[in-house]
Symmetry: C2
Subunit: 413 residues, 2 copies
Amino acid sequence: MVVEFIFVGTELLLGNIVNTNAAYLSEKCAGQGLSCYYQTVVGDNEGRLTGVLQTAMERSDIVILSGGLGPTEDDLTKEVAAKVCGKALYMHEPSRQALERYFLKRGIELTDNNWKQAMIPEGAIVLENPNGTAPGVIIETKKAKVILLPGPPGELCPMFEESVAPYLARLTNTVIFSQTVKICGVGESKAETMVKDLIDAQTNPTLATYAKTGEVHIRVTASADTEENAMKLTAPVVKELKKRFGKAVYTAEEGVTLEMAVTELLKSRNLTVTCAESCTGGLLSGRLINAAGASDVYKAGFVTYSNKAKHKWIGVKKSTLKKYGAVSAETAREMAEGAACAAKADAAVSVTGIAGPDGGTEEKPVGLVYIGCCVKGRVTVKKYQFSGNRAKVRESAVAAALTLLRKCVLDAS
Amino acid sequence: MVVEFIFVGTELLLGNIVNTNAAYLSEKCAGQGLSCYYQTVVGDNEGRLTGVLQTAMERSDIVILSGGLGPTEDDLTKEVAAKVCGKALYMHEPSRQALERYFLKRGIELTDNNWKQAMIPEGAIVLENPNGTAPGVIIETKKAKVILLPGPPGELCPMFEESVAPYLARLTNTVIFSQTVKICGVGESKAETMVKDLIDAQTNPTLATYAKTGEVHIRVTASADTEENAMKLTAPVVKELKKRFGKAVYTAEEGVTLEMAVTELLKSRNLTVTCAESCTGGLLSGRLINAAGASDVYKAGFVTYSNKAKHKWIGVKKSTLKKYGAVSAETAREMAEGAACAAKADAAVSVTGIAGPDGGTEEKPVGLVYIGCCVKGRVTVKKYQFSGNRAKVRESAVAAALTLLRKCVLDAS
């Protein structure tokens, strides 16, 4: 079956916002086995929208429109779609009541223009919108199914997950199941080489690799008649990936991030952790504390940006700083040891490097970073050369620090 | 004049990448006074691309295509465009040599399929690509100007700036000049109200407001026959904005961020700064140190996530923590005072709050954050209630902390 997208909104034509709905819907529909050949962006203009919708309904089985369902005069997607499909609009009582409840709950006055959001084309399926005011709509015609969704991603995405995906699954009689194996500390091209045979050999499930900063994600996607059968197809491939990548796999669970995995690992080993940061300046601690519940393992950390601070707070020797410099393996080592000692933590990670754009020399170029990790008194120091601008170097250093901490904790036990 | 975009690439239809080129080109072309009514995404398919291009050339004066200029068999944008425009392709000697140089410089072997990138439609204007292998092309026909650009943003954006923008400026005989006034500590709707009369009254220059976390940016854009004349139009409006928003304007210069402005302010007053962070856990320090040259003002900072750490490192009284709790105005005050004292810094900012998703109570809900700021011994504490998820609350708290620090430093002198 062929799906086509129409994104409605002058703000898209003016470039005021990036169309993230396009990538989201494309990926979701491809995942459900639908083919997509065209996507169009058009403004809130009756004539042009009518033309684009008519063309789409001629050449595709399913047309998904997003945007233009709101209360203002500009919003005319539903009115145009109803007209093109030859359906009259009527006041849909449950949607009217939902609107009332929405405004009452937030204590906002409901102005008259809002009611038009509860007008629904005759015979259409209404999709509830718990995150906004405009419900979604599915109009089924002989030519095509026309699906209208609100534009804000915070409304569109949950509505797609809850209402549209199951509707499409019934249409295509196919269930899609995906599982992602997340890997850290293995480069993208190496990871790709390690799974190339699997990618080439498989058609169901399929494998796709995605490079993230310091990580590679491998998504395994299967389609079948039931979710259970789809899971039966992915399971052996996920098992094989875990075997090939071993300890580098930090999770195969949905929604788990590297900082969450590291926090959980520390918690399971009953270890506390601290950070001593120079060039990352707090970003590593900030990311560790992203994980809700980090307070079980993380108590205190140090941003030691100056040499003085490195000496005063975490006891890096003045002689070390003088002899080897702040960006050196020796300083990274003493930062990790000193931070563990000062914070009375079982583990400590230190980061010191040259994030740029200035400060680089031939010997110590921009992007050079030393990361130290101390776990129960045993210290490991690694040297890295990252590329990219200041922000990218710092982001790469944070990911590498989490990866090294994880490795050292795993090796320690 | 009317411009239209065609984005070519199966990876867009599959949702593997977000189409940032769309927002980039839309904004740039709107800035040059061009109207855009349609944008289309289509795959690397000869028949469908031919149809889409023909339609676009019928209804628009300028058609910009991006993607599909590469060396592989899939890449057929140039071949299709040449055919639709009735132009034969020939080997363009300067482009051939540029290709050779590109590969030689990188020490990569040049495979045969690469030569097709140097094939150019007869009579076309060639746009050099210093950042990649495929040159851009402008084909001028009676119906429309057809502009072909490479897909990777790292190649498309510089090529647009250097070659396409001046070409469009000559076509439209217009130069566009923009200046952005950046404001912190004023809510979006208040800022909009404060400039509504200007927005309504102005057609050249135009004003547009953009909400960022904790900031509002107001862009003033003028068009004229020369850049000098365009600047003459924006200058009085920028002056008026500075007058209306007063100290809330932290910059009207290109590329200056809030952390850069705060760092510069501290430097100009000869003040050093430190941070004591609980719920933001290092992100505030991390953002301050985004500003290259932060080392002049920032020496050391503290991530004091646990109560013990708040007491031990920055001297928050145990009785304060017990009586008022870690998330309280009293604790924020002692954190700021204690951090300034411990780090021997002239100024200190503290953040303590409930980022969620857990830990909220009726009295202290998720999103409640206290920020303390101590400048030369004088402490200010403010209470905030942020909304959104954990990441959003933390991001908002960081922006509010920078804004409060800026305000306290300005007030102190």
